[in-house]
Each structure stands twice: as C-alpha cells, then as structure tokens.
C-alpha cells in the first residue's frame, strides 16, 4: 500500500470504513463457525439433516423477532415487550381460529395485527407521550402478559386446524422447513427496508443523531411509531410461529425471550446507542444462540453450566467484535 493514488487511498478508506460495519458480522459469523466446527467434531448427531433442520426451526421465532428488534435498536430504542407481545398475539391468533373460526391465514394475520397494535401503543407512548423506550416497553411487557392471562384465563388454547401446523412444522419443496423459509423471507424484507427505504434510512438517522434528524425535517414521531409497529408485528408473527410449533396458544410463552432477541441483535453488531445494526448480523447472532443451546443438549451439558456457557459466549463474541474493530481502526491509519 506504499504507492497509491489519492483516489485509491480514499476508495480504500471508504471500503475499510464500510468493512467496519461488516466486521461485527464477521466476528459473529466467526464465532458461529467455531461453534459449528466444534459441534461437528464433538457430537456425531450434530451434522445430521434432522438436527440442522431442528436448529433452523428453533431459531425461527428468535430470528424473526430479532429482525424487528434490530430496527428498533438502530433508532437507539429498545423493545422489552416482544416476549409478552408474542404470547398475546400467539394466543389471540389461535383463539381467532378456534373460537371465531377464522381461516388459518387470516388468523395468522390477525395475530400479527395484535402484535402491531401493541407496537403502536409502544410507539405512541414513545414518540407522542415522550416516554423512554425502555420504560414504555417495560410497561407493555407487564400489560401484554396480564392481557394474555386475562383473555385465555391462563389456559393454553387448543383445537387449531391441522393446516396451522404448516407454519411452524411444515416442509417446503426441497425439504427445507417452512420456518427456515420464513426466516429468509423476513430477513430479505428487513434488508430491503433497512438499506433501500426511507424508513430504514430515517431509522439510522434518528438513532445516529435525533437532533440532526429533526433539523432535517424528518417527521420523527411518525417514523419512530412505525418502527415500533413493525417490531410489534414481527413479535406477533413470531408468536404465531411459536403457536404453530406447538399447535396451540400458550399464555406462558416468551418469558425472557426479549433478552435472547436483544442478545442476537447486539452480537450481530447492533449498537444500543443507535445508528448501527444489520439484518445479516442479527441473523448470525440468532443462529449462534440457537446453536449453543442445541450443542449443549447434544453434548449433555448440564443446564446450569449451559447458562454459564451462554453468558460467556455472549461476552466472547462481542469482545472479539470489539477487538476486530479496534484492530481495523488501527490498521487504517
């Protein structure tokens, strides 16, 4: 790199800057590969089609919700309510099938809409009432959980039509589980939103410097609300996938899910200070967490040690990311 033209230098620099966005993904992907290779060697049952499908299916709920969470985190927000909202949506969606007799696709949409409404409340509380996202969604975590108990009387709702199982348990042409297809579709949509639409652009802008966004005439409230609606809708959709997996609406579903989801986004490089985050990174983060849980079972690791291991892996994945970013910064000087 001793003899470069001026243009060459700036081009290189630009590339490197954008690489730094990719680095988090690389770090997370690296961790993913390490865990993957390790498990392939350590457990004979890991590298079977069945098991990999299992992992894919098990990731679906986390991944779908985490993509919404990524959008929220990019705006420097957070959505703690996704677990409760997923439960509420899952149960209400199933009730729409069972009690109202709605056709399955409509009921899935209905459940998703329930999530969107919760998201709307979050969004309005944040953008209009001016509540801190942490507080607004913490309240929703409590409210939605209470509501799901009230509507279901804390009883799981059964009696879904068989076709509902397809969403969470079905297999697509080529033997790919439908949940995996769902992940892909949502991920591509998320990618397009983040990189090609105003909504995505404004999400980054709001998270990066909300004052600048305001001064540029961006209707902050409207877009911020939209972001939480999307997160709520995806939580609702995730809740429907979870319901389909167990062919019932479970009012206790999703306790603590928000932490997994947030961890997935952050491992994938989203910054809680806003302005940073990608769909690909989040996906990798979600798979990493699922893989660790899967591997721990395959290797018969005691559940208590699993908790310790998951904590430590989260630390290491993010630490590695930091290290790589720092080295990159140093290298570009």
């Amino acid at each position: 790199m001793s003899q470069t033209t001026a243009t060459g230098r700036t081009l290189g620099a630009t590339l490197r800057e954008h690489l730094s966005d990719v680095v988090s993904q690389l770090a997370a992907a690296g961790a993913l590969i390490v865990v993957f290779v390790f498990l392939s060697i350590a457990s004979p049952n890991f590298l079977t089609a069945d098991n990999l499908f299992n992992v894919g299916t098990q990731t679906a709920v986390t991944a779908v919700i985490a993509i919404g969470m990524t959008l929220v985190i990019i705006t420097a927000g957070i959505d703690l309510s996704v677990g409760s909202v997923a439960a509420l949506s899952g149960v209400m969606g199933v009730m729409m099938m069972v009690d109202l007799g709605l056709p399955v696709p409509l009921a899935i949409l209905g459940g998703t809409l329930v999530g969107a409404v919760c998201g709307l409340v979050n969004g309005l509380l944040i953008s209009v009432a001016g509540l801190n996202p942490f507080i607004a969604t913490l309240g929703m975590l409590s409210v939605a959980r209470g509501l799901v108990y009230i509507v279901s009387d804390a009883q799981a709702v059964f009696g879904t039509p068989d076709s509902f199982r397809l969403l969470g348990q079905g297999v697509f042409v080529g033997g790919i589980p439908i949940p995996v297809v769902v992940i892909l579709v949502v991920a591509v949509a998320g990618y397009v939103v983040l990189s090609r639409t105003k909504l995505g652009r404004y999400a980054y802008a709001i998270g990066s410097n909300v004052e600048a966004a305001r001064l540029s005439g961006i209707p902050i409230r409207r877009y911020l609300t939209a972001v939480y609606v999307i997160s709520g809708a995806l939580a609702g959709f995730g809740g429907m996938i979870a319901s389909s997996r167990v062919a019932s609406g479970q009012p206790n579903f999703g306790m603590g899910l928000e932490l997994d989801v947030i961890a997935a986004a952050v491992i994938g490089g989203a910054s809680l200070f806003g302005g940073q985050g990608t769909v690909l990174g989040t996906l990798i983060g979600a798979f990493l967490i699922a893989l660790i849980r899967n591997g721990a079972v395959l290797l018969d690791v005691n559940i208590f040690y699993q908790q310790v291991i998951i904590g430590v892996v989260i630390w290491l994945a993010v630490m590695w990311d930091q290290y790589r970013r720092r080295r990159l910064a140093a290298a570009s000087e």
Binding site: R196, A212, A213
Partner: protein
C-alpha cells in the same frame, strides 16, 4: 424590492432569558445580510426561529410576503429556508451522501434511489470544494470537513434564503475563500444569505448589510458602507474596545516542553518542537494538516507510535490525558460540545472537572463554588448563577467555561485548539488578554488557530504544519500571511 423574509415583533423567551426580544428584520433577495453581536445576543436563536426549529413566543414571520405558521423545520425547508447550524446537525453513522439528502431523499414510494443520491451528492460536494467520497461515513470526517458537508447540505435545498451560523469557525483561509465563492454564487442567483460571524474582517469582506444585536434586541441595521470596525464593535458591545490582540511583553525563559520525533501512522510524521516559558507558540496550517492530531498526541489523548516528550527537562511517559494533566499539560479541545463539556452538569462542575478540590474522595463544595465564582468574574461568563447547567449557555460562554477549567489545573503548558471559535469580539479580546496573562505568568502556550491574524498578533513563534509534519517554524520578525500560507501549502513564495 419585496423582502424574502420579513420578521415583525419576533420574541423568544427561554427560562429566565429573553433570547430574542421584539425583533423586526427584512431580508432582501440577493443580499448578504450579516447578523453580528456578542455571545448570547440572540443571533442563533433568531435564526432558529426563522428555520422553525424553535417556536416564537410572539411575533410574525413572512416569507415572500406570506405569513407562515409554525410547522417545524421540514416546513421551513419547503418554504425555501436552508440553514447551516452552529453546532453540527449531521448523523455520524450515515454517509456523506445520505446526510446531504436527509429528509429529502430522491426516490418514490418510500424507496430511496441511492444512485441518484450519490450522483447529486458529488455535484454538491464539488460546489463546496470538498473532495471526499460521498460514501464515507460522516463520523470519519474532520470537523472542518463536516462543516463543509453542512454547507453542501444547505445548498441541496432550492433555497430562497440560506442561513449560515458561524460557518467559518473551523475553516482556514483557503476554505473561507471557497465558501465566499459559494456565497457570491448564491446571491448572484437572487438568493439571500443570512450570515453570522464573529470575525470582523469577514463581515467587511462579504456583507451587504449588517444587523447588530445586543441582549436580544436589534441595535441597528446598516449598509456595510456606513460601518467601520470601531463603529461595529461599539454597536456590538456598547463600549470601546482597545486592542483586540493585547499581547503582553513577556520574558521568554527556558524550554518548558520539548517534543521530539512524535509519529502516529500517516497522520503525524516525526514532529518535533519546543515551547519556552512565557512563550506563545502558534500552530498554523491548512485544515487537516495535523495540528489537532499533534496536540492530542502530546496530551495523550491518542496513542503514538514513536516520540519523546520532555517537560522541564524531565522525560514524561504519557499514555493517557491524566498523565499529561498530572505532569502539567493542558489541552483545550476544538469541539467543545463533543469533547469539552458535560452539558448536563453545572457551570461550576464543569470548571472543576479536571481539578476537583477534594480530600479523601470528598469534594469541597464550598471551595468549588468559590472557584467557579472567581472564574466567572475573571472571564466574564454571562450567567445568573454558576450552578446553571452549561447546556443553556450561549456558545461563547460555553467556551469560556472550558477555558476556566484549564486555568484551574495550573498547567505549565497549555494547548488552546481554536480557542476563539464562536467567541465574540469582546470576549475574544478578553480571552487573548488572558492567554497573554498566562504567558506572562511563565507558562508555555500553544495556540492553534486557522485565523492567521490571531496567530500573527499573539505569537512569539509560529510552527506551520503540512500533511502531518512540521513544514517550518517562523520567528516573530519573519511573520507574514504569505509566508505562512506558502509553508502550509508547500507552494514557493511568489514575492
């Protein structure tokens, strides 16, 4: 001629401050209208009222003869009001192109046409003479580069009036000339430019008319021909100011600080210099020459690859700012909001931040209070109470708070990075008097400035940087703008 902007009886009150108090103002198409006044006179606030960032408490605003209601900054932009803010309004995680079109992205149906965006961005950047890739993240630009992105952003709007709030505060002569080119370009198209600056010479170079504000009120609006420097200053501060650059006669003593072979990647290459007791050493150079980098490296704010630092003959090992401060080196940053002030803390707390009077971990609150009071007196920080949050001070007063902090550390060597940025004439004179005073006390001063008159008037020697290395050091008798620019640009003197 029909004014593009007409303000009638505009008022804005903040808690306890009448920031703008019954202002009437007409802006004509094609004119450069300068608004001048002391720190806190209400200039920025007035501009924010026009660009609908703030809602006026009273009064009427007409644009092209139409009364406008308050609907927020997006509305003002659509009406043709563009603004370059005093404090940057850029999103650091977005690219240059993305920032330029923020809120007005090309494309349809909610989608952004990124190719068109980049193309148009190139054109805009060219107009302000900024050679950076539109894909670069704003966070990686220098302050000066960011300033020009701000200007380009204002140009992106098809504006009837462009407001510029101290756009040159971080620019050096060459860039300023380019900016003036842009301004002349705008006015020739019949657009009005509202321009705020504390640099008197600029005012006379660019202004058609000048409005002077004091304490939120308009003191006078005059064509520039009816003004001279003395009169302008008198209008602004309401009194006579003697020498703008009161350089004291000082006894220059032994070498205090000696820096040898400081290097940091490509940004600093083998830089050496020394500062003597009682001496004011200037750092000159074009924007991006590495002056800030050099000061930060000495101060331990950034890691270095190689180099030695000696203070009063003692070899120092500086790895972090704390080491430098303990050894007796202070550094006043150029970006006071980003790196200088803790905005939510009080004025007193900011002043004592680097030298907290404490024993066994407990703060002497009484002492802190009296320190702050003393500095307020000395530096004439305009505030009803030192316990107010720094956030609510005007830019210039904020700057004084940072200065006060470093005075409190009793540093032997002080680096002032663009200390006059955003400070009004009166305050500037006070501050340079203060810098002179510090030198007379036997401290070593490094004065980094992009404004050559400041350096030429204040300094004993001037070190000129170019491209991360020391291009030369001029003694007082060799001082001249031409010579400095020649060294800074590497072009042979044409005289």
């Amino acid at each position: 001629m029909e004014p593009v902007v007409r303000l009638r009886g505009i008022c804005k009150e903040f808690p306890g401050v009448m920031a703008v108090d019954g202002v009437d103002l007409d802006i004509l198409p094609g004119e450069v209208h300068v608004v001048a006044g002391e720190n806190g006179a209400g200039k920025s606030t007035l501009m924010k009222l026009l660009s609908q960032v703030e809602r006026p408490t009273a009064g009427e605003i007409y644009i092209s003869g139409e009364r406008v209601e308050f609907h927020g900054p997006g509305h003002a932009q659509r009406l043709g009001v563009a603004m370059v803010y005093q404090e940057f309004a850029l999103a650091p995680h977005l690219s240059v192109a993305e920032n330029l079109f923020l809120g007005r992205e090309p494309g349809r149906g909610g989608f952004v046409d990124r190719r068109a965006e980049k193309e148009e961005a190139r054109g805009l950047l060219e107009r302000v003479g900024l050679e950076v890739d539109p894909d670069r993240l704003v966070s990686t630009l220098t302050v000066a580069e960011q300033q020009r992105v701000e200007i380009a952003k204002a140009l992106a709007i098809d504006a009837k009036v462009v407001i510029m709030d101290e756009p040159t505060a971080t620019l050096a002569e060459k860039e300023i000339e380019e900016l003036f080119g842009v301004i002349r370009d705008l006015t020739s198209q019949g657009r009005a430019v509202l321009y705020i600056s504390h640099r008197l010479d600029e005012i006379f170079r660019i202004a058609d008319r000048v409005t002077v504000m004091r304490d939120g009120k308009v003191v006078a609006t005059l064509p520039v021909e009816e003004l001279d420097e003395a009169k302008l200053v008198r209008l602004m501060v309401g009194r006579e100011i003697g020498n703008l650059y009161p350089r004291p006669e000082t006894q220059i003593g032994d070498v205090l600080l000696r820096v040898r072979g400081l290097s940091r990647g490509e940004r600093l290459r083998d830089c050496s210099f020394e500062v003597r007791a009682g001496e004011i050493l200037g750092f000159a150079g074009l924007v991006g020459a590495g002056r800030t980098e050099l000061a930060r490296a000495v101060f331990g704010a950034d890691p270095v690859d190689a180099g030695e630092i000696e203070l009063e003959g003692r070899r120092l090992r500086i790895r972090k700012p704390q080491d430098a401060i303990e050894a007796g080196i202070g550094y006043l940053t150029e970006d006071r909001k980003g790196e200088g002030l803790a905005l939510q803390l009080g004025i007193d707390q900011n002043i004592t931040l680097a030298s907290l009077p404490a024993r066994f971990g407990f703060i002497g609150l009484g002492r802190e209070r009296s320190i702050a009071e003393r500095r307020r007196e000395q530096l004439n920080i305009r505030t009803p109470s030192v316990r107010r949050k720094v956030q609510v001070l005007s830019g210039g007063n904020q700057q004084k708070v940072v200065v006060a902090r470093w005075l409190e550390t009793r540093a032997r060597v002080l680096f002032f990075d663009e200390p006059a940025r955003g400070i009004d004439v009166g305050a500037k004179a006070e501050m340079f008097a203060l810098i002179g005073e510090l030198a007379r006390e036997g401290r070593g001063i490094v004065l980094i400035s992009s404004y050559l008159p400041e350096l030429i008037n204040m300094c004993d020697r001037i070190l000129v940087m170019r491209d991360g290395s020391v291009a030369g050091v001029l003694e007082r008798e060799e001082f001249s703008e031409e010579r400095i620019i020649a060294l800074a640009t590497g072009v042979k003197e044409t005289v």
